[in-house]
Symmetry: C2
Subunit: 166 residues, 2 copies
DNA sequence: TTTCATGCAAAATGTTTGCACACGA
DNA sequence: TCGTGTGCAAACATTTTGCATGAAA
């Protein structure tokens, strides 16, 4: 993985799983084996992923930890609702990333290698709030994606030697 | 009309149709009845629309001007490629709007009535370019959508008016 | 023991493709 | 004529749903 995700973290009192359990209890929903498995899997690594990525990860684990496709979709929606994940639409499908315990940020998206580079800018937030105020618009969030080609994909290279592939 | 689209226009030498024909010729593609019909329909009104909206409009016109679904999709992709339309992903599907002859802008999206409100900000562009420079990222464009609830939908009223935009 | 969640299969949605025929250049 | 575009039907990718069964509380 060649990505820089070092935006730091945000202080949170509970682990993602604890937070999700709290959310579930507050809605009289159940804390099931599958929901626990998904939260654990999702928060074990910081990266962008879609429903199929997650499903594949869950399917390759053994016995007890298998989760069906519908449950993956249903649980992802709940995690977004609970504020644990952020969802964005990329190339026609939903892509997810950590929200809980992770600072607000936006993305550069490379159209060659599909990489998502995170960046953080206080200005975006300020601008957003100013525009919204002007339109008497109640903000719930925003998505800013800058499309283009990343540094690596711009650098013309004749061939990828094994060393380059890291 | 509840929307403010008065961002003005950008000076262009050719009509959208002329511009598209130029594009087609430059790629040895053909100027067909269907392609002409679609460009005319699309540029007859300034509004946001998706493939199904356009198809419905085309299907309800008589005889000669009917265009099939695959051709609508194929032509929309060509119009985006030709720089006549801008595409954005909203709620899992592609939404289009005029690009040629229309100034750069971003959107506020109301999650209640689904309305898209346009706004223009030089700051977004500057910020975008600054961030890109910092990451040696070659920018091709960006999409900024501010999600939330618009002024009308915030004002509690007993009856909802029909949504006039995608 | 009473819900609510799960898994399965099937459906729904939005979009793309293979192919025979039509048509613009 | 030649080669590209069209329309049809079918395929596709992603996500959602109905329903019988299984498991939290």
């Amino acid at each position: 993985m060649t990505l820089d995700f070092s935006l730091g973290t945000v202080e949170v009192a509970l682990t993602p799983l604890e937070r999700f359990e709290e959310y579930l209890r507050s809605r009289q929903k159940r804390i099931t084996k599958q929901r626990r498995t998904i939260v654990e899997q999702v928060f074990s690594v910081h990266r962008h992923f879609d429903a199929e990525d997650l499903l594949a990860l869950l399917q390759q684990t053994v016995g007890e930890r298998k989760v069906s496709r519908p449950t993956v979709y249903r649980t992802l929606a709940e995690l977004v609702d609970a504020g644990l994940l952020r969802e964005m639409s990329l190339k026609g499908r939903s892509v997810y990333e950590h929200d809980y315990g992770y600072p607000q940020h936006d993305h550069l998206h490379c159209e060659k290698c599909d990489k998502l580079i995170e960046f953080s800018s206080e200005q975006v937030r300020q601008l957003r709030d100013a525009v919204a105020r002007e339109h008497q618009f109640r903000v719930r969030g925003h998505r800013l994606i800058i499309h283009g080609v990343c540094a690596e994909c711009s650098r013309p290279r004749r061939r990828l030697r094994p060393v380059d592939l890291v």
